[in-house]
C-alpha cells in the first residue's frame, strides 16, 4: 500500500528526515515511536502533503502512485487521512457542514453518489457512537473552544466519517487522559480491517496497549534506527529512549 524509500526532507535549511525506509501493507498497524524532535511528526506531515517541508530525496509510492506528486486534497480523496497532533480551530465553520462537503468530495472522487441530508445524518449518528462525541459539539465551530480531548475525538470522528484506506495518527494520544485514550483507541480499532492500514505516531508506548501494532519502528535523528514487533514498545516503556540514543550515538 505504502512504500517509502530513502526519504529525505527539510524545513528551510534544516534537514529533518535523513533517509526513511518503510513499507506498509493492507491490514497492518505500524507504530512510529521516538523521542521529541526525532522527525515523527515531520514524517506524518510529509505523507499528508504539508508544504512547509521540502522533500530533497527519496520516493513515496502509495497504491502504485507517486504520492509526492499529489496535492494534499488528492491524497485525502485517494484515502489518506491525517489525524492532526494539533487540530486546527476554524471559527465560523461547523464540523457538520464541513464534513458534509468533505465526505461528498471523497465520495464523488470514488464515483459514488453524494449523500443527501438524511443519509449523511444517519451516517453521522452511527459514527458518533463510536467515539462517544456529542451532537452539540458537532454543531459548533470546528474545534473552536474544544478541550484537547474533544479535539482528538473529533479527529477520530472525522476519520470514521471519511473511511480512509491509510490513516496516520500524529500523536493522537498526547495530552489525553486514560478515558479519552480508551475512546480513541476503541474508535481506531473499530475501523481496522484487512484492506486498511494505520500508522500510529506516538511518543508514549501507553497508546499501544489500546491500539496493538503489528510493527514498531523507532525514529531517531531522522532515521528509523530500530524496528520490531509490539514487544519493542514494551521495552521502550521500561527503558525509555535513552538506551536507543546511546546505542545509535555510540555507533556513529
Amino acid at each position: 500500500m505504502l512504500k517509502i524509500n530513502g526519504l529525505h526532507a527539510r524545513v528551510e535549511e534544516k534537514e529533518i528526515l535523513k533517509g526513511i525506509d518503510l513499507e506498509v501493507k493492507p491490514g497492518e498497524v505500524h507504530a512510529i515511536m521516538g523521542p521529541n524532535g526525532s522527525g515523527k511528526s515531520t514524517l506524518a506531515s510529509v505523507l499528508a502533503g504539508r508544504e512547509d517541508f521540502e522533500v530533497t530525496d527519496g520516493s513515496v509510492q502509495y497504491m502504485g502512485q507517486d504520492l509526492l506528486e499529489m496535492e494534499p486534497e488528492e491524497r485525502a480523496r485517494e484515502g489518506i487521512f491525517l489525524a492532526f497532533q494539533y487540530p486546527v480551530e476554524i471559527p465560523g465553520v461547523s464540523t457538520t457542514n464541513f464534513l458534509k462537503t468533505a465526505v461528498n468530495q471523497v465520495r464523488q472522487h470514488k464515483g459514488k453518489d453524494s449523500l443527501d441530508a438524511v443519509a449523511f445524518l444517519k451516517m453521522m449518528k452511527e459514527k458518533m457512537k463510536l467515539v462517544d462525541i456529542d451532537q452539540s459539539l458537532l454543531s459548533r465551530s470546528l474545534n473552536e473552544g474544544f478541550s484537547g480531548g474533544e479535539k482528538k475525538r473529533n479527529e477520530i470522528f472525522q476519520m470514521a466519517m471519511l473511511e480512509p484506506t491509510l490513516a496516520i495518527l500524529d500523536e493522537t494520544d498526547s495530552g489525553l487522559d486514560i478515558d479519552a485514550l480508551r475512546i480513541v483507541g476503541n474508535g481506531v480499532n473499530a475501523l481496522r480491517n484487512q484492506d486498511t492500514a494505520t500508522i500510529v505516531v506516538t511518543h508514549y508506548p501507553r497508546l499501544l496497549e489500546y491500539i496493538v501494532p503489528d510493527f514498531v519502528h523507532v525514529l531517531y535523528n531522522g532515521r528509523i534506527v530500530k524496528s520490531g514487533s509490539k514487544e519493542l514498545a514494551l521495552e521502550l516503556e521500561e527503558k525509555g529512549y535513552d538506551w536507543i540514543k546511546e546505542t545509535v550515538d555510540a555507533a556513529v
Binding site: 486534497e73 485525502a76 480523496r77 487521512f81 465560523g92 465553520v93 464541513f98 468530495q105
Partner: protein, 441 residues
C-alpha cells in the same frame, strides 16, 4: 465642460423653470445647498476626508457632464436584470430607479398597513409636502460635505418611506438603483428619506447596480429618522461593476429607546465611498453597524462611519470586514464619539481584513473620541492573510484549495452576513465568493 460645472449649470437652468414648489421650506434648503456646493466644489486633493479616495479627479476624468440629462434606458436590459436578481415569489415592495428616474412599470408595493407611505420622492414632494418640509435635509451636513450639498441641491428622485406610530411593516422594501449604460455613461443622484415614527418597525434595502459596459456615477443620500422606540433595519448593497463610481451618505437619527441596524456590502466598483453617520441622540439607543467589502480587480471601496453618542446609557456595536483580492484597495475609517453627557455608553468597534494578494491593500483607521468618564468602549483593527494552517487542514479532508479558501472566506464574512435579513440576498453574496474562487478572486 467639467462634471462639477455641468451640475451647476443644470441646477441653475432648472431653478429658472421651477414654479409652485419654489417657496416651500424644503426647496429653500435645496437653494442653500446649491450655494454650499458652488462654494465647496468637489473635494480637493488635499481634503483630509478624501485623502485615500481621490474621487474628484476620477469623476472629472470619466464624465463630461452630458450624462446628467441623458437617461435613455433599455427596458429589456432592466427587465432581464430584475428577473435574474429578484426572486419571483418574494413578498416585498420593489421600487426601481434607472438612471435617476423612477420606473413605475417595474415597481410594485405590497399591501401596507394603514397610513404607511411607500412612494417615489417626486410623488412625495407633491402629495406629502408637509412631511418633506419637516424632515428633508434636516440632518445632512451640506456646509461641510460637497457631495451631500450637491445631492440636496440636485436630487429629484428616490425612495420615500413613512411609517406612522405603532405600525409594523412586515414586508421588506427593496429599492434598486440601476445605472443602465447600454446607451452610454450614466450619472444619477438618488435621494431617499425614511421616517419611522414612535414604536414602528421597517426594513429598507438599497441595492446599486450598473448594467452594460459603460461608466456610471451615483451620488446618493439617505436620511433615516428612527423615532422613540422604533426599529429600522437598513441594508445597502453594491454589487455594481468595475466601472461604477459611487459617493453615498446615509444619515441616521435615533431618538430614545430606538434600534438601528445597518449592513453595508460592497462587491465591486471603480471607486466607492460610503459614509454612514449615526446620531445616537437619546437614552437606551441600540446601534448595530455591519459592513463587508469583498473586492477584486482594481476595485476601490472606502467606508467612513461615525457614531455620535450624545446621551447616556446607549449601546453601539460596529463590525466591518474586508476581503481584498487582486489589486483591490479598501479604506476603513470609523469614528466613535462619546459626548460628555453620554455616561454609561457601551461602544464597540472592530475592523478585520484579509488580503489575498500582495497587490491588494487596506488603509484602516479606527478612531475613538471620548469626553465622558464612565463608559465601556473598545476598538481595533486587524489585517492578515488566509490562515495557511486552516487551509492545509481542510485540504487534508479532501477539499480543493479553492473550495477550502471559499469555506474560510465564507466563515470570515459570516458574522457580518448573518445580519442580513433576507436569505436570498445573503445567498447571492455567498455565491459571489464561490464564483470568484472558480475564476481569479
Amino acid at each position: 465642460m467639467s462634471l462639477e460645472q455641468a451640475f451647476i449649470t443644470y441646477i441653475k437652468d432648472r431653478e429658472a423653470t421651477i414654479n409652485g414648489q419654489g417657496d416651500t421650506a424644503w426647496h429653500q434648503r435645496r437653494r442653500a445647498a446649491f450655494a454650499d456646493f458652488e462654494k465647496l466644489g468637489f473635494p480637493e486633493k488635499k481634503d483630509e476626508e478624501y485623502r485615500y479616495t481621490p474621487i474628484s479627479r476620477a469623476l472629472e476624468r470619466e464624465f463630461d457632464g452630458n450624462e446628467i440629462t441623458k437617461a435613455d434606458i433599455s427596458a429589456q436590459a432592466v427587465q432581464e436584470f430584475l428577473d435574474e436578481i429578484v426572486p419571483a415569489d418574494i413578498s416585498a415592495s420593489i421600487l426601481v430607479y434607472v438612471n435617476g428616474e423612477f420606473q413605475s412599470s417595474f415597481s410594485r408595493t405590497e399591501n401596507m398597513p394603514e397610513g404607511v407611505i411607500v412612494t417615489s420622492l417626486s410623488q412625495a414632494y407633491q402629495d406629502h409636502s408637509e412631511l418633506i418640509d419637516q424632515y428633508f435635509a434636516q440632518q445632512t451636513a451640506e456646509q461641510s460635505d460637497s457631495f451631500v450639498a450637491l445631492n440636496t441641491a440636485v436630487a429629484q428622485e428616490g425612495l420615500f418611506v413613512y411609517v406612522p406610530k405603532n405600525t409594523i411593516v412586515e414586508t421588506p422594501i427593496l429599492a434598486y438603483f440601476i445605472s443602465d449604460t447600454s446607451n452610454g455613461a450614466s450619472v444619477a443622484s438618488p435621494r431617499n428619506l425614511y421616517i419611522a415614527e414612535q414604536s414602528s418597525k421597517v426594513s429598507v434595502i438599497e441595492s446599486f447596480h450598473t448594467l452594460g459596459e459603460g461608466a456610471s456615477y451615483q451620488n446618493a443620500v439617505s436620511e433615516i429618522w428612527v423615532d422613540a422606540n422604533a426599529s429600522v433595519y437598513y441594508n445597502k448593497l453594491q454589487p455594481e461593476n468595475n466601472k461604477a463610481y459611487h459617493t453615498g451618505t446615509t444619515e441616521v437619527y435615533q431618538a430614545r429607546d430606538s434600534r438601528f441596524t445597518g449592513v453595508t456590502v460592497s462587491l465591486q466598483g471603480a471607486m466607492i465611498r460610503n459614509n454612514l453617520n449615526v446620531a445616537s441622540d437619546g437614552e437606551n439607543c441600540e446601534t448595530h453597524m455591519y459592513g463587508l467589502y469583498m473586492l477584486d480587480g482594481k476595485s476601490h471601496v472606502d467606508n467612513h462611519t461615525a457614531v455620535d453618542h450624545r446621551k447616556p446609557n446607549s449601546f453601539s456595536n460596529e463590525l466591518y470586514k474586508g476581503i481584498m483580492g487582486e489589486q483591490s484597495k479598501g479604506v476603513f475609517n470609523g469614528k466613535v464619539y462619546v459626548r460628555q453627557d453620554a455616561q454609561k455608553t457601551n461602544a464597540f468597534q472592530s475592523n478585520a481584513n484579509i488580503l489575498l494578494t500582495n497587490e491588494a491593500s487596506i488603509d484602516t483607521k479606527p478612531q475613538l473620541e471620548i469626553w465622558a468618564d464612565d463608559v465601556k468602549c473598545s476598538h481595533g483593527a486587524t489585517t492578515g492573510q488566509i490562515d495557511k494552517e486552516q487551509l492545509f487542514y481542510l485540504r487534508t479532508r479532501g477539499m480543493s484549495k479553492d473550495q477550502a479558501t471559499a469555506i474560510l472566506l465564507r466563515a470570515f464574512a459570516g458574522d457580518v452576513l448573518e445580519n442580513i435579513e433576507l436569505d436570498f440576498i445573503r445567498q447571492q453574496i455567498e455565491s459571489v465568493i464561490d464564483q470568484r474562487l472558480n475564476t481569479n478572486f
